[in-house]
Amino acid sequence: MSATTEETSAGPVRRRAPRGTLRRLLSRPLAVVGLAIIGIVTFGAIFAPWLTPYGVDDQMFDGLTLQGAPLPPNGHFLLGTDLLGRDLLTRILFGARTSLIIGIVANGVSLAIGSAVGITAGYFRGWVGTILMRFTDLMMAFPALLLAICLAAVFTPSLWIVAMVIALVNWVQIARVVYTETRSISEREFVDAERSLGAGSMRILTKHILPHLVPIIIVWGTLGISVTVLLEATLSYLGVGVQPPTPSWGNIIFENQTYFQAAPWLVFFPGAAILALALAFNLVGDALRDILDPTQRGILS
């Protein structure tokens, strides 16, 4: 318990700076697996047009059997073809773009909303804080998926709308975490000290509170991408997410599920892609929590 003298004094308790984070991340095999999966998916998404000889929407003449059934994986179509005779691998590669874009955009927006709400409520308290946190409680009482489906039905779903819908549903968790953390930081002595020296709220927030929030925002930001990817896939599977012909891993399964008993690869491959990406962000997020947030030890410590 005798870490450094700085921690016991009234001075700011610096969380371990995220500087050595990458090195420590790379010393954990599971985090490396996660990073590798994320790397592969990102590579596939960026270079999709060059990795495959087929176009996303190309309905291949030889892509269906004579009876009109999709082809199982073979030498030409590595993962087989879908109901319309399109190359499944190509659709999955382009679908990675959808997943990553939504994962990053939606999660970025929900991080921004969640942090803003959490910091405001946690620092200013008073009636603003009370209203914000009661509203957060209210959002927690909604079944997340049902709310997302209702929202998606209100707007005509496009890629960006889906991202916004997911952000509007997902910010709540982050708001609660940031709120609790902000409250505990702003009760610390160094914040009082700073205030008594005449620092304004803006200065205290940006110089003293925000830096302490960086670790948990990084951790929850990473874990949140996994939640986002899963929610996008689910909405698209239900037909209220990203709309065909834009490929998404969820809507590939939505489009082909009537045929899945005869052509299970049409569910298996995109399903495996969703699972792999969500798992990857969970593994990396858990490792980051271990490294950055000593109060909440990750499970694989």
């Binding site: 009482a141 909604f142 079944p143 209702c150 209100v154 896939a233 239900l238 969820g250 798992l279 499970i299």
Partner: protein, 306 residues
């Protein structure tokens, strides 16, 4: 205790009123026109206008909501636009199926999650532990519709052990419950593991071992009950996960519960049904959280209700 309960109940009621306002507002701005839906495509503009007037859809938002709210106070959830039946009846008819599915899911997630967590804790730091925790990560990362479709393919289509979908017998229940339980099993195994590790660190466990009790007895008689209770007390919180999960799982397996009711209603813009299911889910979630909070201090006296 009583004061706490009363305050929490009042809070819960306020939250539910808030939920009803937000949902109603959301559906109010929905671009789809329910009157047009009811009248059908071939109806004249006049008929549609009449239906709008009849349903009170021309009234301002506040008036519409107030009418709905007064109905709610009498337990009246309104009538379905398309089926001309009371929403309360529709939901009540579907609720038993959903509750049965949730019960099955709770059994599955506890059986899988607690076992995995227990084994991982006892084998802490070994490959078994690591392997099990990776499995638990897979559990929380698996999209439910993929889990469901895969289980269907392997156990129903290929092996033919279970029916492909539907409702009625015990064997219909197995695959949907498993699918809904996988996510929770992932969480429970992690909570169980850390709870068990915490308990095994306690002094009384060392004392029990030191006085010569067998490891088996110490683990199952002394440690397990204490480790398992706080984990099981979380069941109330699961309801939130379930309420999202049922929409997917019920649609994959053709399970006639409220998830499917909501899903069909959303596609047909049957607003009263969507409202009804959302409110019933919210009530369940709020009660679940309340239950978890109220139960906690009985299980762990160190927790104080505030």
């Amino acid at each position: 205790m009583i004061g706490y309960l009363v305050r929490r109940l009042l809070q819960s009621i306020l939250i539910l009123i808030g939920v009803s306002i937000v949902t109603y507002a959301l559906l109010y701005v929905l671009p789809a026109d329910p009157a047009r839906q009811i009248a059908g495509r071939s109806a004249t503009a006049e008929t549609v206008a009449n239906i709008r007037e009849q349903l009170g859809l021309n009234d301002p938002f506040i008036v519409q909501y107030w009418r709905y709210f007064l109905g709610l106070l009498h337990g009246d959830f309104g009538r379905s636009y398309l089926q001309r039946t009371e929403v309360a009846d529709l939901v009540a008819a579907r609720l038993p199926a959903t509750l049965l599915l949730m019960l099955g899911a709770i059994v599955c997630e506890l059986a899988m999650g607690l076992t995995m967590g227990l084994v991982a804790a006892l084998r802490r730091g070994t490959n078994t532990d690591q392997g099990l925790m990776v499995v638990s990560f897979v559990g929380v990362s698996a999209p439910q519709f993929v889990t469901g479709l895969l289980l269907l393919y392997v156990f129903a289509v290929r092996l033919g052990w279970f029916p492909i979908g539907g409702y009625g017998t015990f064997s219909h229940l197995v695959l949907p419950s498993l699918t809904l339980g996988v996510l929770g099993a992932g969480w429970y195994s992690r909570m169980m593991r850390s709870s068990m590790i915490d308990v095994l660190r306690q002094d009384y466990i060392r004392t029990a071992r030191a006085k010569g009790l067998k490891r088996f007895v110490v683990v199952f008689r002394h440690a397990l009950p204490n480790a398992i209770l706080p984990v099981i007390a979380m069941i109330g919180i699961d309801i939130g996960l379930f309420m999202s999960g049922i929409v997917v799982v019920e649609s994959v397996f053709g399970w006639p519960g409220i998830g499917q009711l909501a899903w069909q209603a959303i596609q047909r813009v049957d607003i009263p049904i969507i409202m009804g299911v959302t409110l019933v889910s919210a009530i369940a979630i709020v009660l679940g959280n309340l239950l978890a909070d109220v139960v906690a201090p009985f299980i762990d006296p160190r927790i104080k209700l505030r």
